[in-house]
Amino acid sequence: MKNSLSNHYAAATAQDGMAELDLETLLASSLHDIKNALGLLLGNLEQLQTDGTGATSAGNSNLSRLRLGGEQIRMNLVQLLALYRLKSDDQLIDIQEHNLLDFIEECIAPFEEAFAEKGISLELDCDETAHWYFDADLIGVVIANVLHNLYQQAKTRVCFKIETGANGLVLSISDDGEGFPAGMLERTEIRQGKIQFHSGSTGLGLYFSQMIARAHKNRGTAGWIQLDNQGIEHGARFVLYLP
């Protein structure tokens, strides 16, 4: 008797569990699966590159491009989740203090090989002990966005410059490419941060970056981003300010 009652009890609990599987849970678990699959894909690509000692350099650079492609999908996924989070819920932003050199090095790490193969050098101007306060995951995606663009645009150099002061952090990333097209910089909505959705990836990336920068607030001041052509020899320059 005792046994049958307890079985009944267990069954009821399991049914309650079934009822809770709403759309959000389903979406979350499929995202989980996608991320796992993508992680495996990227891992296998990396492994292929490590194992392929006899492969031609052309083959290797194809692999690097594949990996960057995978990275881009990864970034888009993270972006998607972050957008959903910032739009739907309270401000789930996790501001901690970070060492800037460590942080930038971690951002650059997945790109290093691909940039080296293309003959682009990455230069870093940052004090070893400099630190600032931000959400490292979110700002990491902002920087990965910029690096993806630079991979297409830069000729030989990409330069990171990081300055901190009492009022905030200024991080600028410049390249020696052609710079942003004049038309793009003239669009006032970018300067004012009122970026709309456009076809193509730049629009969403910028929209995201602007949103993330603005979500970083400190004592009444919010962060911002800015684009101009004051990079290396009039190349493109991306500036991020965080209070």
């Binding site: 005792k2 009652l5 307890s6 009890y9 609990t13 979350a28 995202l31 989980h32 991320k35 796992n36 993508l38 992680g39 495996l40 990227l42 891992g43 296998n44 990396e46 492994q47 490590t50 990996r67 990275e71 990864r74 993270v78 989740l81 972050a82 989070r85 819920d89 309270d90 401000q91 789930l92 932003i93 996790d94 501001i95 901690q96 203090e97 060492n99 460590d102 090095e105 971690e106 790490a109 997945p110 290093e112 070893e128 002990t129 630190h131 306060y133 995951d137 400190n218 004592r219």
Partner: protein, 540 residues
């Protein structure tokens, strides 16, 4: 960068997907690691960690139906399967959820969101290992309870301009709280907050106010943290604690309700909510909380029989009598390795039956339970002693109740929560004054005895002090304070009058008993360290 290697680190990978395990393993091996293990479940991870020490654990949060990553972390840290200098890295699918996973006590050293590349993993590991290395001596001193040394090392590192200055300041502030230097802790937290209103520093500042007795100050700061970031769980925990201290249980319940809504899987928060709601006679809220505590507790090292008792009482309050009895009966099944679980379940059923029909005579049933108990004068587990006392009082067996409570208080004379529960049982039976007197007398008895022993030791009369403590330890075997002071006297005597084998053995036995009561107690850890030094000196 390529010169850096994981060669000297033993590494454990925990993930339920075979492909991900083998990919992580490859990544790690590529960094030069030779000692790499990978397991599928949290249970396997804990079993392996009991046998072998790992420097780094990479653990996925989602591990299928049994233990999750947070529970692996809790158990590993709680049972000291990891040193404070070891790394536990939680791998999570999405960032938003991790902030609310936080248990009351343990946080991983870092979170890594999936998917990540090899380069990212390498970079992160290197950074974390460097940071641990920079704090190594401080963490070890803290673990030995040598707080003075730990604080000195912090000051030294800060004045040398360490790159890890901020994390060292954080440790320093925690050490100041731990050592009772609340004013200094307040100043340090305040100076960090002046630079930036970081949530951990604000919460630390509130804690300092709390301990300094400035409840209003603490409340204001905690509310500010909660208003600005609704997912910083530690702030909720402290605010609830503050309201309990101020004896405003309704407010504490509101805070816990919000907290458990954010972090439903936290067993300890659900338990608190269940208990406080039961006290407020809000049975439906209590039932839901205990139900969650029981469900999430299945695979947790924090699992307790008391959660089932709470659940059944709440079910009874909701008029779900049959369910309540079933919950009580399920205890023997849920705790198969607990020698007292049958007795506990039967006593609880008896207790519930009396609550259902106070007119019915449940004496016979209770007597059967009491008779089934081992007649030997062995200390009963606290949970069981409380339940038996409560049930005895229901049935007018005041003498038996008195015996259980007396032993309980003697064994735990400074455990405020247990003392409160003991008094509550008497108050519920309409015997508040009697309970108050009983508890206070037993407490005073222990305190007097303890003071006497300490005074003898201070006066250099070690043998007398030891004799007194040995007798006290026999009379109240579960009292940690007495046990630790007995060890202290034995150690002092060894230090001043030379080491003898009998005493060393006795110290070892007492240390073992103290470890069983609370292996994380700072004073215990300090004495253990002292003993180890003595034993090695003796051997040399």
């Amino acid at each position: 960068m390529n010169f850096w290697t994981l060669k000297n680190f033993s590494i454990l990978i925990v993930d339920d997907f075979a492909e991900i395990r083998s990919m992580l393993r490859l990544m790690i091996i590529n960094f030069g690691a030779a000692d790499v293990h990978a397991v599928k479940t949290g249970e396997e991870a804990i079993a392996l960690m009991r046998k072998k020490h790992f420097h780094i654990v990479l653990c996925d949060y989602n591990l299928g139906p049994a233990k999750d990553g947070q529970q692996v972390l809790e158990e590993a840290r709680h049972k000291k399967l990891l040193l404070p200098t070891d790394l536990f890295i939680m791998i999570t699918a999405e960032k938003s959820s991790y902030m609310v996973m936080g248990a009351i006590e343990y946080y991983p050293d870092d979170y890594l969101s999936k998917p990540f590349t090899r380069a990212t993993l390498l970079h992160r590991l290197r950074k974390l290992i460097q940071a641990k290395e920079a704090c190594r001596e401080i963490l070890l001193a803290q673990a030995r309870n040598d707080l003075e040394l730990a604080l000195r090392l912090c000051d030294q590192a800060i004045s040398e301009g360490s790159k890890h200055r901020q994390s060292i300041r954080k440790i320093k502030a925690e050490l100041l709280l731990q050592s009772g230097n609340y004013e200094e802790a307040r100043e340090l937290y305040q100076s960090i907050v002046d630079e930036r209103e970081l949530h951990w520093a604000m919460t630390g500042l509130a804690q300092s106010h709390f301990f300094l007795g400035d409840d209003d100050g603490a409340e204001e700061i905690l509310c500010q943290v909660i208003d600005s970031n609704t997912n910083y769980m530690e702030a909720y925990d402290w605010l609830a604690k503050l309201y309990i201290k101020k004896e405003t249980p309704k407010k504490a319940q509101e805070v816990l309700l919000k907290a458990t809504e954010k972090s439903p899987k936290s067993l300890l928060r659900q338990r608190q909510l269940g208990e406080i709601s039961l006290e407020l006679n809000e049975y439906e809220t209590s039932r839901k909380a205990f139900q969650a505590a029981v469900e999430h507790g299945t695979h947790s090292c924090y699992k307790k029989k008391g959660d089932y008792a709470g659940l059944s009482k709440a079910q009874l309050g909701c008029g779900r009598d049959e369910e309540a009895i079933r919950t009580a009966e399920s205890i023997s099944r849920k705790f198969p390795h607990d020698q007292h679980s049958d007795t506990y379940a039967q006593a609880l059923v008896c207790n519930l039956l009396h609550r259902m029909n106070p007119g019915d005579d449940t004496r016979q049933r209770l007597d059967a339970v009491l008779e089934s108990l081992d007649q030997q004068e062995q200390a009963l587990p606290d949970e069981l002693a409380l339940l038996l006392a409560e049930t005895c009082l229901q049935n007018g067996k005041t003498e038996a109740a008195e015996r259980y409570i007396k032993d309980l208080v003697r064994n735990n004379h400074n455990d405020t929560q247990l003392i409160r529960q003991a008094k509550k049982i008497y108050a519920e039976a309409g015997l508040a004054a009697q309970g108050e007197k009983l508890v206070t007398t037993a407490q005073t008895e222990v305190i007097d005895l303890n003071n006497q022993g300490v005074q003898l030791a201070e006066a250099g009369q070690f043998e007398d002090s030891i004799d007194l403590f040995i007798k006290a330890c026999a009379a109240m075997p579960g009292n940690l304070t007495i046990l630790l002071n007995a060890i202290q006297s034995l150690l002092l005597s060894a230090q001043h009058c030379g080491v003898d084998e009998d005493k060393l053995k006795m110290i070892k036995d007492y240390l073992q008993r103290a470890r069983e009561i609370d292996g994380n107690n700072p004073k215990y850890l300090g004495l253990l360290d002292h003993y180890k030094k003595l034993a090695t000196d003796d051997a040399a």
